[in-house]
């Protein structure tokens, strides 16, 4: 396997992360001033699941670097509908483009696809697995808001199926971070992630309620609890209701708590929070462009940049 694929956050060292964030800060100052970086470069977007932010920010990033994208389009309009395998799809697409961004519903899809191609491949979400480019923009945002060391973060919601949660948890083991995971029992972190965090010697606590831990937090990272994870509507309403936040919830939080969310949100953050200085999720989404510019810049240069 080439080392310039980005498949999971586990492969990222502290140096790797800092290199991306440093470059992203340069791009963020004036995103329009870097069209000379990769003129003519073509990035293939292969999204087997819907996406708004991830897909659009990769497209924006590629164009800001002077490149362009070729988009597979929706699965309904592609050869996938005719039964083509993912392995065949990426082998064909590799001949069209200088890099591939892949989102797929199956866990491990990006790792498998990477074994069939020689152009850099970015995992933009593989089922309930990983979403490492989201993690890089999350880290960028956390770094801006609270700093990545001596950090106390609470991660709340669907921790079992939340791929952004899995990737973020892995990446934070590179830093001096205390990680609190808040979820219903049925949506705890999966065994594989807990195993990795334990192996990495991470400072981790699990809770069922936010109240006790909220006042200590520098960052609260909220994720959506999906209706389809529960056997019936009543059970969903009962559980999800305990993991929603509004202005009242935040009364007990530190004044400079940053509330983050990978978006889309449904109703887990009340819109009244948007007006509070704690609301960081839209800024977080905007950071997707300079961070993905930095990531693509490094990957298109062969993994080490400059």
């Amino acid at each position: 396997m080439r080392h310039d694929h980005l498949l999971t956050a586990k492969q990222l060292s502290r140096d790797d992360i800092e290199a991306v964030l440093e470059r992203a800060r340069r791009f963020a100052d004036d995103p329009a001033a870097h069209a000379d970086r990769h003129p003519g470069a073509l990035l293939a977007l292969c999204f087997f699941e819907p996406s708004t932010r991830t897909k659009m920010s990769f497209e924006t990033a590629a164009k800001r670097l002077g490149g362009d994208v070729v988009d597979m389009g929706s699965v309904e309009d592609s050869s996938v509908k005719k039964g083509e395998s993912l392995a065949d799809t990426v082998r064909v697409v590799e001949g069209y483009a200088d890099g591939i961004v892949l989102r797929h519903p199956s866990q491990g899809a990006a790792r498998m696809a990477s074994e069939f191609v020689d152009v850099p491949l970015v995992n933009a979400g593989d089922g309930a697995g990983h979403h490492p480019s989201q993690t890089l923009l999350d880290l960028y945002t956390i770094d801006e808001q609270a700093g990545l060391d001596d950090l106390t973060i609470g991660v709340m919601g669907d921790l079992k199926y939340g791929r952004t949660v899995h990737s973020l948890a892995h990446a934070l083991t590179n830093f001096d971070a205390r990680q609190h995971f808040i979820s219903p029992e049925s949506l705890r972190l999966p065994r594989s992630v807990r195993y990795d965090l334990h192996e990495a010697g991470a400072n981790v606590r699990e809770h069922e309620n936010l109240e006790a831990v909220l006042p200590q937090l520098d960052v609260l990272y909220v994720t959506r609890i999906q209706r389809e994870r529960f056997p019936d509507e009543d059970e969903y309403e009962k559980v999800a209701g305990q993991y929603r936040i509004d202005a009242d919830t935040l009364a007990d939080a530190a004044e400079d708590l940053a509330v983050m969310h990978p978006l889309p949100r449904v109703d887990e953050i009340d819109p009244e929070v948007d007006a509070l200085p704690n609301a960081t999720y839209f800024e977080q989404a905007h950071n997707g462009v300079p961070v993905r510019m930095a990531l693509l810049d490094i990957l298109l240069d062969g993994g080490d940049g400059e």
Binding site: S85, L86, A87, H104, P105, S106, Q107, G108, A109, R111, M112, E115, D126, G127, A128, G129, R191, S192, Y195
Partner: protein, 152 residues
Amino acid sequence: MKDTELRVSKISSGTVIDHVPAGEALHVLAILGIDGSGGETVSLGMNVPSDRMGEKDIVKVEGREMSQAELDVLSLIAPDATVNIVRDYDVVEKKQIAPPEAVTGLLSCPNRHCITNAGEPVETRFDVIDAGVRCAYCETIVREDITDHLAV
């Protein structure tokens, strides 16, 4: 001991896998890919009395000397197995088995959302970790009942 010899006779040449946990002999054959089609003479002893294990299984495969790589995979289900290579009725080599780093194509992933269960042209690969095996694609960890997931 005498009892054991009466039940499973000595072989002239081949591989004897002893101290297999009782009930696992058929899994041993499955893992080694031995289903009789290769023409080897195979003898099994199941639930044989053992001083050390209470009861054990024994597998004897005639005319075939197993390689270390083939045998190491057995450590997933029979970590304490002992292996003797026999030539002309003499034990010429005792092999120790050790966990391999990974096993390929042997197990199917229990995670139905894993890409290896999606009809793709890819063999399963499991990394061996301290307390089980882990899918190299979706990272699912299997600790117990590994033989339930044998793909062979």
